[in-house]
Symmetry: C2
Subunit: 636 residues, 2 copies
């Protein structure tokens, strides 16, 4: 299907918007009127700019409050329309959007609205223009697509049809079934927008919090599938009013928009395949919908790669050994050292001419790559490419196995390996095989800190490419501002990525961002079967844990009614505790922060606990900002 | 009355909060439990810290969901309470807040709730502690202070009373009259918070958007006055959950909080004086309420002072002369040049050892002072001091009149002069008297750009000190993000200050902020009686106006149905146009931006138009960012 986006969805002036939209491979645009009004040139100049980058104007929305008005107002409105038809002629725009009248003075009379829209359509037809009528959720008289279709049906004009907008329908909780009963040729245009579920007035919700399909909570795919069931073959068009998008580089927004549409097409295809056309109905028109390689079957984190320098390598190695990792050896062609514990490998990369080194120069000591285990690595990488990700493959030595990967939104790498992957294959053993010390057994989760306005980009990346599912959102107090946190995970719960971000620049999360691309791993959590044993081992190895205040334990005892001896044990070991509604338990400790970039966590899940101890995150952040302040004050 | 603030209202760790609260001269705090839990020390350590800075803990809120529960849960809750009483003993906190149960499992049985609270009060009494019971607006069974009082009355225990919170009452639209009928001694505590009117769920509204009284839309004074009418004599305490306050320097928040309380006391006093105690009732207890000098009687902007260097002075002088100002002369003791047009004076200050020079070093060429005309300058300055403003007086020469002023929140100056003020008194005439060219006659408004999180500070400053009233809020699209705008004005409409701010760092408003204190005048609007004459004079003087796109006029004609000839005249002169619902008209033009800091606007108001042409601001911002981009790209 044709892919379109409204210019209001992006930041910038019209030229910047058009370049970004064309680069992301959209076919057409909805021209938002302000983008014409604010442009310092004629409508013909705009048309030339649009055509120059290979786009078309699929829709133009030049005024409001047209229909359901007294006769004398209607005459003036027709005059306005004629002037706008002139502009549309210059623009070569063939469809005008008329949205339902929001004026309190609008008259509740479908017959009048239909007659007025009929006359508008008649005028439009003379210019070769079609009129699409759309219900605003806050329209004075007309709020639903069903009502719009009723008026369009009465008006009975070839140049008048229905425009559907997923936000207006889904925000009202209106059903989508009725869409399939509108004749396909009378659906002139389909606008798509998602949104988070918010309890607020629908106008503000629409104007400020829309997002791309796949970034919110609506079932936009079901909505769009119904239009296609009805026989709609026009563009799928994104119309997003979002405060952050207005301030974000338009190239990123356009890329996210295209990824969102492609992901949506995959879901629509799935919905249509599940519900074949009813026997009695005419066969659906053929529409092209994306058919990408299937979502990956992931089975966990195989390895992590840290970008280090020689100094940090020694220190990080001590930390890893403290947590039970054993050194395996050094890569036979590169300055990379491998540590292992059971199935889990960690590479410390200090090779001068490497991706890791570039990453180190930008971000300091940091996690530069995550290795995921997948049943079909090649399939996943093809899928990622279809969804607009860049592939990455580094030079390899003569006998080395190449390791293909993809670039995450911040430029870090996700390598993909299969079950047969042996992390140590290209390493020269100098210590052993990395036999398990039994302290930690796997990566439980990898947390990332993001700039506040990057969350939607990451959410969509993980949902579309890896098919991770977002979990509950948390808003947590850091001493210097609120932090938002939301994890994504696969169904098997062995790939978990909590994302954290903050509007304040003073929180622990915000301060861990680097100046350059911003995002980065700030937390690596390992799972253990015995947290107390792990703590004793860590202490024996001289690894300092984050200090938890006494008052936390006093409150824990009062709040959860825990056994005194158990609370004492937690307190003695500095272990934090959380319990879910079903009695599942989470015991965890944090290390101090390594070089201001990331910390390790060791976690023990019991009884089906499936969260991340969010209740304890504020205690951690308070302790981290205390520690950071102390270290800063000691700096000469 | 005693003045208190909840620690949750401020950013920082407990020590930072306490220092800021004490410096702002509060008497006591509500200790928020997280501030205890996250503190790395004992409850006794906290008590010592609080006492060290001269504060007391007036309230502690250690748990939720206490009352209206099954018996077995109640026993556990009592155990929790006993543990928290221990902590309160260590803290020397004598009042515990219990807010109404929000659990869906809470039992709808006032008798049970009363009995359980009675037992809690009995236990508390043994420890010398009192229990205050408060209605949360989203409580499961108890949502109003009336219901709380009903339960407290039934429970009938000396150590159990009512806690009032203005937010919970006013957000629900619950009446305040009933407060006056609660016996004063049974009102244990009064929490005060304001909020903007938002259509959203009350829980999110309360948790994220509370603000200090005077910063929002509620009549907090009427609420507090009712408690005092009832006989309440305890602290007035600010309990503000606000995302921005959590990320703002605590010293500023604490100062704003104190200013808010003082302003509130003035308003409460006014309300009480208007409604003396009913004859039948017991006389009200005497409470101390602030009695500041009365609000000022302002009559306009007398002068503006620009901080300049020698180069900018020449250029700015040409701009002023283009707008009809005449040079009067040079100050007899300082490097200050005076321009005048009728009653309006403008000083260009390049004196090396002056406030203006310091301001220039921080902000570049800028408006460093505004001179306001007031009936009683001394009274206004005293009032400002009472409300926590710093006074300012610069050195003067032997025969010069001193000109006292006050520091605005960004450090700029507001001078206050009376009707007899002669701007030219200390100037040596070298050109004339500044006879009016009749182009512009007065300052219509002075616009300020603020960092996004400074708006509430300025709003309160102008409301409390100058008694300006806030007008409608606007959200306007800049090509690179949304800009919020809200004006404050006096009743006579001759002092008008529109404030603009933006969450995006890329808007015209955000880019006009300086690195240092941020805020600054970005717009000086002069009023004229004939905009077309003014434009012709400006053009003749070679002053370049901001270029308005043709498409703006095409749309204006279609949108407002204006006469063609009139639209042509607007277009020829590059004049923007707005019309209000009553037919009042606003015609205006903008200059280009001077040294990236501010622009001038010339406005003509007709037929009672009382706004600022907000509909045209996006056209301006688009043109400004276009101009800025062009200039940047020309920079070698």
């Amino acid at each position: 299907m044709r892919r379109s986006i409204a210019t209001v969805s992006l930041s910038g002036n019209l030229q910047e918007k058009l370049l970004a939209i064309a680069a992301a491979k959209f076919d057409s645009i909805e021209l938002f009127e302000n983008d014409l009004l604010f442009f310092d040139g004629t409508a013909r100049d705009v048309r030339a700019m649009v055509e120059d980058v290979g786009l078309k104007i699929s829709l133009f929305q030049p005024f409001r409050d047209f229909e359901g008005v007294p006769d004398e107002v209607f005459r003036r409105n027709l005059d306005r329309a004629e002037r706008k038809f002139d502009v549309m002629g210059d623009l070569d725009a063939k469809m005008m959007l008329v949205c339902s009248n929001v004026s309190p003075a609008a008259i509740a009379d479908d017959e009048r609205a239909a007659a007025q829209l009929h006359e508008l359509a008649e005028r439009a037809a003379a210019r070769g223009i079609r009129i699409g009528y759309e219900a605003l959720a806050w329209g004075a008289q007309v709020k639903t697509y069903g009502h719009v279709w009723e008026i369009v049906r009465r008006a009975a004009h070839s140049h008048l049809g229905v425009i559907l907008d997923s936000f207006h329908t889904l925000a009202l909780g209106d059903g989508v079934e009725g869409i399939a009963h509108i004749p396909g040729e009378k659906i002139f245009f389909v606008q798509l927008a998602d949104a988070p579920l918010l309890k607020m007035d629908v106008l503000s919700w629409s104007r400020h919090f829309r997002c791309f399909p796949g970034q919110g909570d609506f079932d936009v795919a079901a909505f769009a599938a119904k239009a296609i069931e009805a026989g709609y073959t026009g563009p799928l068009s994104l119309e997003i009013f979002n405060d952050e998008f207005r301030a974000t580089a338009p190239s990123r927004t356009a890329r996210d928009g295209m990824r969102s549409l492609l992901f949506l097409e995959e879901q629509i295809r799935g919905q249509l395949e599940e519900s074949p056309a009813e026997p009695g109905r005419a066969p659906r028109p053929r529409v092209d919908l994306l058919d990408p390689p299937p979502p990956p079957d992931l089975s966990g984190v195989a390895f992590l790669e840290f970008a280090v320098d020689a100094t940090a390598r020694g220190e990080l190695a001590r930390w890893l050994e403290g947590m039970g990792f054993q050194r395996v050896g050094v890569h036979r062609g590169k300055d990379v050292t491998l540590y292992r514990q059971g199935d889990l490998a960690i590479a410390l990369n200090a090779e001068p001419e490497s991706f890791a080194h570039s990453y180190y120069l930008l971000h300091g000591v940091s996690v530069c790559a995550i290795g995921l285990r997948a049943a079909d690595p090649a399939g996943l990488l093809s899928r990622a490419e279809v969804f607009g990700c860049q592939r990455f493959e580094e030079r390899v030595g003569p006998d080395e196995a190449p390791m293909p990967g993809l670039r995450a939104p911040d430029g870090s790498l996700i390598y993909v390996v299969d079950e047969s992957f042996d992390a140590a294959a290209d390493f020269v053993r100098d210590r052993g095989e990395g036999a398990s010390a039994g302290l930690v057994s796997a990566v439980d989760h990898v947390g990332q800190a993001l700039p506040g306005d990057h969350f939607d980009t990451w959410l969509l990346f993980y949902r579309a490419v890896l098919r991770l599912k977002p979990e509950e959102s948390w808003v947590l107090p850091d001493p210097y501002g609120l932090v938002k946190s939301r994890a994504l995970a696969n169904a098997a719960r062995n790939v978990r990525f909590p994302l954290s971000f903050s509007e304040s620049s003073r929180t622990v999360v915000a301060r861990s961002l680097t100046t350059f691309s911003g995002a980065g791993v700030n937390q690596v959590a390992f799972s253990t079967g015995d947290i107390f044993k792990a703590v004793r081992a860590l202490r024996k190895a001289g690894l300092e844990l984050l200090r938890i205040p006494e008052n936390y334990y006093d409150d824990l005892a009062a709040r959860l009614g825990l056994d005194e001896a158990f609370v004492e044990k937690l307190r003695d070991h500095g272990v934090l505790y959380d319990r879910d509604a079903e009695g599942g338990e989470f015991l965890h400790v944090y290390t101090r922060t390594f070089h201001d970039r990331f910390f390790f966590e060791i976690v023990q899940r019991q009884g089906g606990y499936d969260q991340y101890g969010a209740a304890n995150a504020p205690v951690r952040m308070a302790a981290q900002s205390r520690t950071a302040a102390r270290e800063t004050s000691l700096t000469p």
